[in-house]
Amino acid sequence: MTSNVTTQEGKSALSSSPPAAVDRQSGRERPAFMASQPPTKVAILGAGRGGTALLDLLHQIRTIEIVGITDQNPGAPGLQRARELNVPVYERVADLIGNHGVNLVMDVTGDPAMERMLHKQVPTGADILSGPASRILWELVQHESALQTELLHAEKLAGIGSFAAGIAHDMNNPLQLILGLAENLAEEQDLEAVHLQARDIIEAVKRTTAICRDLTSYSRRASSLQDSVITINTKLDEALKIARYAVALQDIDIRKAYQPDVTVKGNPDELLHVFVNLITNAVQAMEHGGTLTLETAVIDGAAQVRVSDTGCGIPQELFGQIFEPFFTTKPPGKGTGLGLYNIKNVIHHMHGTIAVASQVGRGSSFTITFPRDAVTGDRSAHP
């Protein structure tokens, strides 16, 4: 399993030379003016829901270095998350805050005794964020999470516009059959032919109904219910069905290499959106046809999903940008630039990683890896 949770692991393997200033944790290049500034060293106390959310959020900020996290409960979800992110985990608060030249101690334990203790123990020069300030921070983190959900939904709805051609094709074809048969039935004398054509009409109506069902189910807001165990193979097939409204699959050779019973715990609506997006991108990269490969596997307890195409590929110089919000290579009005950004966020919330490998003219592959605990569902719910 990869040790880096960020979304661009493939970049370092494929880039010809490392960027001048690279963030240690995220692997992202820093703007030149920041290159010389040392990162703010942050210690997190508490690894419950708040600590985990904070960890996920701060980890993405290039000017922050998380020096460690601690929690009195060794089973706290944030500790496992920290290990995945290569953030040191400490058993004792004193070991964490007493070293490393910590600039800021963020206490999200909610324990008043901890707050009092910190004011005595935290080294001079380090700031403490606890009590009401900590609660406000938690509110902000939740707000950020809600905004990301809204953004995901907005991008999904924007994308549905591109379904128009596919929907029209799939609705109007059965309607043509229904109309043609009904016109014929008005004059048909042969009773057997009447029965056959009536049956064809019923089947055509069922097909049309299925289109509406698929799309209304897809376009709804992702449910905010608790995460559930998702069978990945089924979800990929469902995504393929939806994606065909957005992109024409007639000239695409679809290959599936599914390992049976690959599961992950997460939000099924959000994961469906991730798969639809990846498949749509892959097909759009193959303007003149090609092969779309969908693979699933369990490797060392971790679930892997790979969506590959034999399309135009992604130039190396864009690897660092493709997961950034509003980055798109599509013409104006054709892409929101939020697809891969939202994918990254969803995968991140599911404690997974996404890596890209690509060669111009040969194709691209996106590999999502969910760690063992996400596969078995052996982890507490996250916000």
Binding site: A165, N172, N173, Q176, L177, N184, D251
Partner: protein
Amino acid sequence: MSEFKSGFFMGDQSSNGRVLIMDDEADIRKVVRMTLQKAGYDVLEAEDGQKGIETINAGENRLLLDVIICDIRMPKVNGIEAIAYFRQNYPRVPLIVLTGFPDTDMATSLLRQGVVDYLVKPVEGEKLKASVARAMEQRELAHL
């Protein structure tokens, strides 16, 4: 399929004309065939643009095909590519587009290229027959 008869440039004298329907959906080909056969047309089918091109290039169809009805979204060779081929190689064979997706820009462009009609599914049998009849008139005028 009807037999080849004399009347070289008037097509098969036993039918009202020979029509090729190109659509990847078998159901669409079926109802178009049903409608046009009842109106006395001889109907050929092709499941994509490539098959359509093969059909028109096969034997007597080069000379006897009167009208082509063409879908847009098809595998291998799509409708736009097939229409370009027909306009270049068989400019006298009238073309009717029968598509599931109403696209004004595409309709305008295709009509400018000489397509006789741009029909959006679902289309009534009477309208389809009227369109084919108009195309047949154009076909006959082309032979004068």
